[in-house]
Assembly symmetry: C2
Amino acid sequence: MDKKYVYSFSEGNKEMRNLLGGKGANLAEMSGLDLPVPQGFTITTEACNRFYEENSQLWDSLLTEIDQHLEELEKIQGKKFSDPKNPLLVSVRSGAVFSMPGMMDTILNLGLNDEAVKGVAESTENERFAYDSYRRFIQMFSDVAMEVPKALFETKIDEAKEAKGVKDDTELTAEDLKELVEEFKAIYKEEQGEEFPQDPKTQLTYAIEAVFRSWNNPRANIYRKLNNIPDDLGTAVNVQSMVYGNMGDTSGTGVAFSRNPSTGENKLFGEYLMNAQGEDVVAGIRTPQPISHLEDIMPDIYNQFKDIADKLEHHYKDMQDLEFTIERGKLYILQTRNGKRTAHAALNVAVDLVEEGLITKEDAVLRVEPSSLDQLLHPTFNKDDLDSAVAIAKGLAASPGAASGKIYFTAEEVKAASEKGEDCILVRQETSPEDIEGMISAKGILTARGGMTSHAAVVARGMGKCCVAGASEVHVDERAKTMKVKDITLTEGEIISIDGSTGAIYKGEIKKENPKMTGNFGKYMQWVDETRNLKVRTNADNPRDAKQALEFGAEGIGLCRTEHMFFQEDRLPAVREMILSSSVDQRQNALDKLLPFQEEDFYEIYKIMTGLPVTVRLLDPPLHEFLPTKKEEMETLAEDMNLSYDEIVSKVEELHEVNPMLGHRGCRLAVTYPEIYRMQARAIINAALRIKEEGADIIPEIMIPLVGDIKEMKYVKEEIIDEIEKVFEEKGINVEYHIGTMIEVPRAALMADEIAQEAEFFSFGTNDLTQMTFGFSRDDAGKFLPEYSEKKIYPQDPFAVLDQAGVGQLVKLAAEKGKSANPNIHMGICGEHGGEPQTVEFCNNIGLDYVSCSPYRVPIARAAAAQAAIKANSEDIHIDK
Amino acid sequence: MDKKYVYSFSEGNKEMRNLLGGKGANLAEMSGLDLPVPQGFTITTEACNRFYEENSQLWDSLLTEIDQHLEELEKIQGKKFSDPKNPLLVSVRSGAVFSMPGMMDTILNLGLNDEAVKGVAESTENERFAYDSYRRFIQMFSDVAMEVPKALFETKIDEAKEAKGVKDDTELTAEDLKELVEEFKAIYKEEQGEEFPQDPKTQLTYAIEAVFRSWNNPRANIYRKLNNIPDDLGTAVNVQSMVYGNMGDTSGTGVAFSRNPSTGENKLFGEYLMNAQGEDVVAGIRTPQPISHLEDIMPDIYNQFKDIADKLEHHYKDMQDLEFTIERGKLYILQTRNGKRTAHAALNVAVDLVEEGLITKEDAVLRVEPSSLDQLLHPTFNKDDLDSAVAIAKGLAASPGAASGKIYFTAEEVKAASEKGEDCILVRQETSPEDIEGMISAKGILTARGGMTSHAAVVARGMGKCCVAGASEVHVDERAKTMKVKDITLTEGEIISIDGSTGAIYKGEIKKENPKMTGNFGKYMQWVDETRNLKVRTNADNPRDAKQALEFGAEGIGLCRTEHMFFQEDRLPAVREMILSSSVDQRQNALDKLLPFQEEDFYEIYKIMTGLPVTVRLLDPPLHEFLPTKKEEMETLAEDMNLSYDEIVSKVEELHEVNPMLGHRGCRLAVTYPEIYRMQARAIINAALRIKEEGADIIPEIMIPLVGDIKEMKYVKEEIIDEIEKVFEEKGINVEYHIGTMIEVPRAALMADEIAQEAEFFSFGTNDLTQMTFGFSRDDAGKFLPEYSEKKIYPQDPFAVLDQAGVGQLVKLAAEKGKSANPNIHMGICGEHGGEPQTVEFCNNIGLDYVSCSPYRVPIARAAAAQAAIKANSEDIHIDK
């Protein structure tokens, strides 16, 4: 027994998060701060990993270690397991390194058995409480640890209430509950084939195993996938003496944030229920009271709690999310953690904490998860439209944002409808972890029950998804697929709008507007920009996107694709004429028709981006993409082109490719048909000269795609330069321009030292690079990647998060080789990964000059770049997820 | 003028081959050996490269340097350019680093003009000779340097002969020739718009430029491509005093090898023509006399020549290919070089030279171009069939081997027919460089004219292609597409057989037989095996190939593909049943049917390869490859499978892939359907256990294709091991086995250190690795790779010769990473490149354990491996191409 697997709260602290989990580390920390924490101990995450190595069994030496800590706890509490007078009761809770709300399972009141229940009744002088606790324990233990269906117990309770003719659980008497306990034990025996375990240590062993097992339940797996949490972190288990919020009217329980997690406002924010256990609040079954109400009824407790919240906020230098219980007028803190918050709140808290002098600007920059900024970039309702709209109901403003969509009443239906392209609102009585996929697909979430800390509210805030919760006026009938508000009945598929910032619910659709980056958001982004080294450009191939990106702070265009221009209706005939040409002259003719269109395209974009670099990628896709494949379309084309149908068919067949991804595309088109790139180069330069003649500045960057060799690069580059020189001669004026290449073929990365001799810039095309390096195409990988994810072969989707281990090696190698051969080379990334925070950090660390991403990801990339710069400067700063 | 661009013969030697070209270096060397070499100077290959940098112009300082060397030469020869008494005449010849027969152009008699011709007439007292030389010069200069069509001149000669009523050129008198000279100059003026240049220096400048330009003519480009000679080597130009073989009956010219280039026999081998210039011999217009005949008519000259040949052979320690001219009874050596030879001759010469004590065994191993061994592995005619066959004619045994095929009379027709899969014999009056592509496509070549050193003979020997040349009994009518022999007329498409080792021509087809590796070939291969470190395995997936490879010395199977087994008629229904299964049970059922077939496949191969390693690659192609795509076939399948047509269509559509190369294949199939590999693993182990029970040895190696990550490898490996353990348990016996992976996805190479932890061997699948690293698929690259080759972007086809610079980096990296993580790992290559000598050398140098190639390339790989080992030991040994 070399390794220590169990720590008393008094042995730990907040730095031991990896070992003790978030909850355990914070309980230990609070214990050290002498806050009123019920004592207990934590079984480490390492034990969880060993548990899986031991074939999902607890091993002997661990059991011994647990026994020793139990004895110690018994001494501290002055209670003993199974003591018929004054038994020790504990809670068993999971506690992973990163908090995973709703995902993990908890067992309360462990230690109760037929003897101990009597002891509790005696010591609390409250028999009803004792048996209520016992029946809750049996139910929870059976459900969580032994997988006995919860419904079996619920039915018994319903029967008991019906028999007594009462409505609420609280109306059941001690005797009723005693009977229920017997019935519950019978259910357990029926289902498990053995008696309900009476030995508290057996109960504890089962419970710990259940927590460890729950680390691998499907819901937990989905959450980790969604949040990029590695599967091998494991969870710790916290065993803690029970305190009771359900011991009568001077008892209660609640959860609260030290500031408002929706807005960041510096004011206690939370809710509580008197005479209840914690699970009652989180589950959202009874609608709780706002925390401010506590000030009225128990001012001392309220003030004590407020002081503790302040103390913890100062101690952790961040907004805290606390759980508390009042047991017969005495306050206990059961948990604290850095509170999850909306991006809006995160920004406001971060800026406020800087202004309160608690943290530095750099700390503040690190306090906002870059990808959460996405929430702030989503539309809000148009003010005018909103003024003329009448809300049909109001719920809690659980997660800000505005959404309109068709209503659906199950997660499956939302998923199916949104896959068809519909905007959907998930409407539920209340949500549960099973609804996660529907919540991901929905534009917004509306629940009839549950408070600000209900499942729907917490998860929606985590996702940055608009949510109105606890709209009690709304009657949801999930089976009938209707929601009723007063006299209005809405059925599946009807459209509503919800405002997650006000809680208002509207019938029909309301126009939405883009938000501005002002106030604390503006201040935050200013700090971000002061901090980062990496430039952030955007991928845009039309003026609308370019303008949007500029508003979001883009510092140029890193990727302007030209094929979308070719696909436009007014150009397609000329494009097809070019493809169907049987001679260079014919092809040139068709290209001459395209030239003015392309020139105008570039001119419009340049006008918006004056003074900034604009990288235009020359034509990339294989030519067959521009030809029709259906018979009728080919017939029409034949007519239009004055060719026979057979000629069209034969051209289409000639251009057919077995593997279009690995075919005749990119600069390979220019090697066979140099006139195409010449036309594009001419259009780029013509447009730039017009800008110059208007007295503005633009520096065109011409990007050659799919290069794999220096000679290929050189050949294509020389064709382009030759054409540009012609334009300069014709017009009699010059403009500065740069020619570079995409690094997207693995060979280009390997040969980057040579290619860099001919390239003024590299832009990493990580989409293609990922496909070719892994050897699977995005179009086809759908058939097996989900299985790879399930079988944990690839922890993250390599098309979403750059595969640093594999593809990243090539990027890094190419960057090093490129710089060594050409110290002036300018480098960036322009794949889908360019706005993904982990990838941005990688790009920063390997010394790229910029990332380029879609307009809506520009602010995210800016923040990620700033965080990367800070982290690179001090590798050991602690970052909360 | 820092750099020296011109060297007198007396300034050079044979080590300066890169600078002076092969011909120039050897002229200088012979000059140093005091052999009778007409003096002159060489303009370097560096001048050729600079010529292209100077926009295909000679630059001033070079012209000055040439002038200085001209003056020197005038002094040595006691003659002067343009001297009306005794003018200096020179030849201008190309001379690249590697000799390129028939590819480059030569100009003789340069220096002649209207004045000088009189001087020559006077000094030689032979006016006819003088004007014959002049008209030849005008013709050659116009054709070669100025691209005036040769036919214009030929027509004038024909007209002159007709007017005189004579048949031979030699019957034209001095007066006739004087008239022709005037007519030729008129043609020149007509075509060029200026007078024929009278200034010898202008003539020389034009001629040198023409040689440099000819470096880049299409024929030269094709030859270099065929022989893997880099385009940037450039050619030198040799300017040499003329000597004349056409000065009457005591003059002559010839070419000879110091040994027989077809068989290696140690006896002068060659031919000569009296009263002729060198071009007459090489062009094959008059059929020359065998060199032995010279001994009879000019014994002194013959003996002098024989001594020189011996001296040069000892000096160069290799068989020499000499050109000589006899001018009025005096012998001059115009050229020597290591003689091109058949593989058969190369082997015999190499073994003889070792036995003569001239070279070592290692030298001998280096003396045979490994890929030329291919010639010896081709079939010869079956003795019995040959005995009963009657030759219809006999020609020269110009290049050994046996071939049967349909006759075609143009290179284009041969190319077209052989692309359709026909075996063809190219039948020509005589071949010219324009015929090269047809010669490549043909199984054999038959010419009616030309000797052993004619174009057809030289080129065919270089290619190792069977050739019968100078079959004068055969009357070829290329327009009528017939060949007549006596009373037999054969028309296009009829079949003949030719024996390049005897010169015999047969009507119809004759059975062929594989040769044995005995005699000098056996001795050579024994030296090869004593020398090499790299093992050589074969790619074989049936007993026939395995047996053939074993005879050729294979040391195991490096790649046994299993998909070919799946495609066989008796298995395909079960394969399709497996693919169309809708449940695991159904799939297992179908796999159970395949199991006995696969087991038998492996068993039969193991029986042949007992004692040797056999690497079986598990199923690789995407499943849709096994399904039909045509309507009728799908209907039949539906019936057979008891499914509806629609179900088949929908399955086919479901399995369709956009990029099958990057799709659901390789071990990805096993991640989704582990039962497939389990069946294959079971079949492998069952078969191996049967071999073991029979008392023999076999070590199965199980190869998992398309791995990209250690977790993927681990997952699939665990499935396989689990199945194997089951088999062991069921049968109660064990067998040693190894599990490894192909490295064919770029990511696998990058992650090789991790993957090596789970792999006992790596086999580099360079086919896929090349496709993915370059980002083009072999199926699609045909659309642009020819253009890449033409535009000199890729000097070699990366699917034929491993791209060491790019793909090779990944192979090397993976080998290093693999070894560092797992020092016991065994590594080889199994792509198409495995039998390609340059690639074999690369594999040797990066420390792989073996290469694996198709059976017929096994001896080539063995020889290449031996050469690689020798070269690695002494990097500076000089190897002739």
